[in-house]
Symmetry: C2
Subunit: 347 residues, 2 copies
């Protein structure tokens, strides 16, 4: 296994698309969060949905069998439903085998690995299909080299976890492309990888290879091409700062955008740790990021104002822009503020 891994050319994970979204027997939308997110963010790369008879949830995409999806070009069945404990229940297995028989690979982000389920391992081997666990890093990741790569890089960083780093990176990549500038969203977490169809599950990489994994995620590119890299965690997170630092060092960003959620006072799930100031995040990101890119700079701030009404959001954005002398925008609200943030990134 080790030898096989080393023989493969190293690279980020790559998922076979388009997808057929599997909703299983979901009876509540909360359990189908992954499928619903995929339909929203990558609807053009989803041919439809596939459900068990008990399912009462829909993504709004056409319902079809794996064979029908395969005929329409689908290359994989993506498990878009979560179960308590992240396991794959026995009642799904018939449907999953049906997908393998129809010519589809399987893609999962659940805790339980597809290849640990004997019937799936056996059928996939017999039919020559892939079982892809998005939580498993690809083989052959090298240690970091520190070598400067060609092309431009933007990294979203945060004052905490789960406050908009993925969404901001997706919106900035889209906004940059809308100006006719080549840009790729580079996913560093499971949901992002499913949306992009490729990426690197940074939190699952063995620590010695973190910077090397980030280097693989944004390879050499044309000089005017932008990689917009989804950030992870926070340099001020007592559990996950190491993941953030490995991603920062390996990404060598030219530009970063700080993501923040006004009103969150302490690190999520860790009430004894206050949220750092945006200033502290800017200073620390520059101090640490300059090791692999001395030209690193902060392009602005992405503010998650989902909990505020329009007037309050605008006031908060204006106050922060004044305080920091930087462009501030909520990418969900878009508008001129977002355009100014993109201007600053590309400047």
């Amino acid at each position: 296994m080790t030898i096989l891994h080393q023989a493969i050319t190293a690279g980020a994970l790559s998922l076979p698309q388009p997808y057929l979204l599997f909703l299983g027997d979901a009876a509540e939308r909360g359990y189908a969060k992954t499928a619903l997110g995929l339909a929203d963010w990558a609807g053009d790369r989803c041919v439809g949905e596939f459900v068990l008879p008990e399912c009462t949830v829909t993504t709004g995409l056409a319902r079809m069998t794996p064979a029908e999806a395969h005929a329409r070009g689908a290359r994989s069945l993506l498990i878009g439903v979560a179960n308590i404990g992240g396991v794959i229940p026995e009642r799904w297995l018939g449907a999953l085998v049906e997908a393998l028989e129809a010519g589809l690979d399987l893609v999962s982000g659940l805790h339980e690995r597809l290849s640990d389920i004997p019937v799936l391992a056996k059928e996939a081997a017999r039919l020559g299909r892939q079982l892809i666990d998005v939580r498993s890093p690809p083989p052959g990741i090298p240690t970091g080299s520190g070598r400067k790569r060609s092309g431009k890089r933007l990294l979203t960083v945060g004052t905490d976890c789960a406050l908009g780093k993925k969404y901001t990176a997706l919106a900035l990549a889209e906004g940059i492309r809308a100006r006719g500038v080549a840009a790729d969203f580079r996913a560093s977490g499971q949901t992002g990888i499913m949306i992009a169809g490729a990426g690197m599950p940074m939190d699952a990489v063995v620590s010695d290879f973190l910077a090397g994994a980030a280097e693989l995620l944004s390879p050499d590119a044309a000089d005017d091409h932008w990689d917009v890299i989804e950030g992870q965690g926070s340099l001020f997170h007592p559990a996950y700062a190491a993941v953030s630092l490995g991603l920062l060092h390996g990404s060598q960003p030219d530009v970063f955008v700080v993501c923040h959620l006004p009103g969150r006072e302490t690190i999520m799930g860790m009430p004894q740790f206050p949220i750092p100031s945006i200033r502290a995040v800017i200073d620390q990101t520059i101090a640490l990021g300059s090791l692999t890119n001395p030209a690193i700079r902060c392009a602005g701030i992405s503010l998650n104002t989902a909990a505020l009404d329009a007037a309050a959001a605008e006031a908060e954005i204006a106050a922060l822009a004044e305080a920091y002398g930087l462009p501030v925008a909520d990418p969900v609200r878009g508008g001129p503020a977002l355009e100014r943030l993109i201007d600053s990134c590309l400047a």
Copy 2:
């Protein structure tokens, strides 16, 4: 396997001691570096050495068979010899099986895993012996909690890899104990783990669990007890800084000692990256370490003067002590300078 792992109470790796040191067919001392280091640093926990007829190297310990070693109390055979590529050659297998049959577990730090060799896996299962790969982290590591633990902690940090962080931690732990203060050396790398008989291979831990692994390595202790933790890498290393940061955050050190090798100008193997100044390492360690221990302080500098004669070493130590206003010592040379460094750690 996953379920089994979760059922085990989480903790650092623990190796069965005392050891019988296996030198295989080593014909050069360089290949037997691990065994020679063990004999030097943990000679009191090695009952002897076991060799193949072709071996021309000795640790100086008594030669004996696995059965003789078992009769003298040995609990494991430690593979103290390295092979090109880190593999276990077929010509060792008879000797390794002999050790299993004699009642010894096997301990290895080689790249190839013991349990991936069918005859060893089969014989170990049949006889109820353990196959312990020191490169494999123990099961059940949690994510970091950031919770403040009782007891005192000292961490060695460095301007680079491979310049004396393990040696310094071993010498400081010994020096603290010599004053009648309770202290444990906490190993974070493979050689250190073999010497201590326990520890955490930080560089092999999945990145999400780095800080949690460091928290396990130095658990709650008596208020006047010192854990002296072996550092890894450097916060200024473009490939390994994440490992250093996870270890720093999880260790919550009260005190750190900066290890430095005068004359090394660039990061080992990365000539484009200059070695940071000791001042930069002190400032960055305080800036980042204060997240989980706001009282963190630098106790002094450990200087590796192996390449200097006594007079030059003394001059270098005096100059640095003057420049930084901190105790500076080479733990290998010991003497009053080392005692002053220990004073500063315990202050």
